[in-house]
Point group: C2
Chain length 352, copies 2
């Protein structure tokens, strides 16, 4: 009885000594192990080919929300990369201008600039190239050519001012290349640090016990073979389906041959870019074709087809808890929509 | 020389006496005249049938940005009523789920709750009814029925919590009626006071000289016959084309018969709801069919077909300047997108 009373009335400091020292030692080892694989997110904008100016970032943020440049007037970057859905659209595969269905799932723009290449097959070198080429991609903005796209921007007087400020000295700054440069400058600022970064920086309390257990499992079973670094992925290619054909596990209705269609190298059959797992808990559905609707199911598929492992329910719950710790804080400049320049006032006194 | 020096060195108070008294008297008369026609915007949420709770407003704001409930997963309220475009989509007529083109232009949601009815033809009694019926309108959310729409919401666990908090005590709160109630509660908060309200409250400096001249013209030529009150319109019906068929001035390619198709009353032929003019400078293109792309052209059309008047360029420039003073400050709860509940975690350990 005395014993029980003692236990129940122990001061907090005593409890910590009794209960936390062994855990802390374990966490120290967990932290050391994690630090050998991951690095905290650097909150500074990801460097591009040239330093970006604030005017370019402002223009890029405006253009990001601009639908009037698309073939049907209803597609902006924000259509497939919505702030409310952590920079995705919640669809298996996106729907572009004139309802053209995109062949693949829209990855989040958050932390996208940290990746070594863009798009699932790595066929876009940079966020700038992605933004520019989207203008003339049929299942995206759907313009016939860059001139058509830029013509729509030029019809909106405010853009002459914004482009001139972003690209001073250029006689005709409204170009597809500058569109890409500006949007890229903005996207390079869209970084989301999370509880896991605080953990990597030494704050044990940033992860729950379940998330710490999940992190341990994540490293032990081998997920970190691909998902490592500051992006927890996003820096290499890998075959999807190392152990078993991916579509047998995902239930995909279409077999995507992956990067081989970009490189024509047979070694790239079923090869995709390994995505960053930052914010993965907020960006369902999963995989290049959005074929798996929930995160626990996606974790199970990955363990099975990539690592040949059948995880227990407890292991999956832990890994999901760890992945939830990668959900970051979205930048105010992303969740707050800027007002767009008003439509043409050409013919301030038209006689139509 | 002394005279010139005196003029140039007059203290500010002296200048005011010399220069401003006559102007002030004129403005006093302008203000009195304006106050007899307009009332400043009341920033309190527009009252609905029942008082709204903060939980309903929060739910409504979340649902406003939710595309996963639509037929193709790509339509939310925010698709046709974008914050970046002052609650419109910049299109002549909107594009809904599965690329169904809406027959009419999307009016802004800002200040919409102040109007006596909703939609161009007045076929929606309230913002609540508009939100609910949009769920099953083909060129909007495009669902086959309410059950289909609500089924998609019910599959997202977070909505069970949000609906229960917004509608406590209801055993099955995820209903189409509650969807409308919540979105309506949110839309009733989306009010934008502007420079013109400050003018009506007595601040002469809130309007430029050009805008004051435009306000005078606006009242003198008779625009206030329909565009009056706190909404500067939005509270009555009127035939579009009182003096001349509207399509001859707008260049409309389709003749919309207007409210007659709702009421079957021949007196309603070509009758539409008079829209509120708040934020009109930011919500091009204009009229029920978006047939006129610029505000000066729209002003010219209205003077011609409604009032039988040919305005001078100077009068149009003045009226446009006055209308620009109706551009308000958008609420932070509108321009800042809320994160949406994550997709289903059903089957936290699925064996798929």
């Amino acid at each position: 009885m005395l014993h029980r009373l003692l236990i129940h009335s122990l001061p907090l400091a005593g409890l910590s000594l009794l209960a936390l020292i062994p855990v802390h030692a374990a966490d120290k080892s967990l932290l050391d192990q994690a630090r050998s694989v991951f690095t905290p997110l650097d909150p500074k904008p990801v460097a591009g080919d040239k330093p970006a100016t604030p005017q370019q970032v402002l223009l890029g943020r405006t253009l990001y929300f601009e639908p009037r440049v698309s073939a049907d007037g209803a597609v902006s970057c924000a259509r497939c990369h919505q702030p409310s859905l952590y920079g995705t659209d919640g669809l298996p595969t996106s729907i572009g201008a004139n309802h053209r269905v995109h062949p693949r799932n829209a990855p989040t723009v958050l932390n996208a600039a940290m990746q070594s290449v863009q798009h699932w097959r790595g066929d876009r070198r940079s966020v700038e190239e992605q933004a520019t080429k989207a203008l003339i991609a049929a299942p995206s903005y759907g313009n016939a050519n860059y001139e058509e796209a830029m013509g729509k921007l030029k019809a909106i007087p405010g853009y002459h001012v914004l482009f001139s400020q972003a690209f001073p000295g250029e006689p005709d700054p409204i170009t597809a290349e500058n569109w890409g440069t500006a949007i890229g400058a903005y996207v390079r600022t869209l970084l989301t640090s999370s509880a896991f970064d605080r953990f990597l920086e030494g704050d044990d309390s940033a992860l729950s016990a379940r998330a710490r257990a999940g992190l341990r499992t994540f490293m032990e079973v081998g997920c970190t073979g691909c998902h490592s670094g500051a992006g927890i992925g996003g820096h290499l290619y890998q075959k999807f389906g190392l152990v078993e054909d991916y579509w047998k596990a995902t239930g995909s209705t279409h077999i995507d041959r992956g990067r081989v269609e970009v490189t024509n190298d047979p070694a790239d059959l079923y090869v995709f870019k390994v995505p960053s797992l930052r914010n993965v808990a907020m960006t369902a559905p999963y995989f290049h074709d959005g074929s798996v609707p929930t995160l626990p199911a996606a974790v199970r598929v990955m363990a099975h087809v990539q690592l040949g492992k059948a995880l227990s329910d407890e292991q999956i719950i832990g890994i999901v808890a760890f992945l939830e710790s990668l959900t970051g804080t979205m930048p105010p400049a992303f969740v707050t929509a800027p007002p767009l320049p008003v439509a043409s006032v050409a013919g301030a006194a038209p006689s139509r």
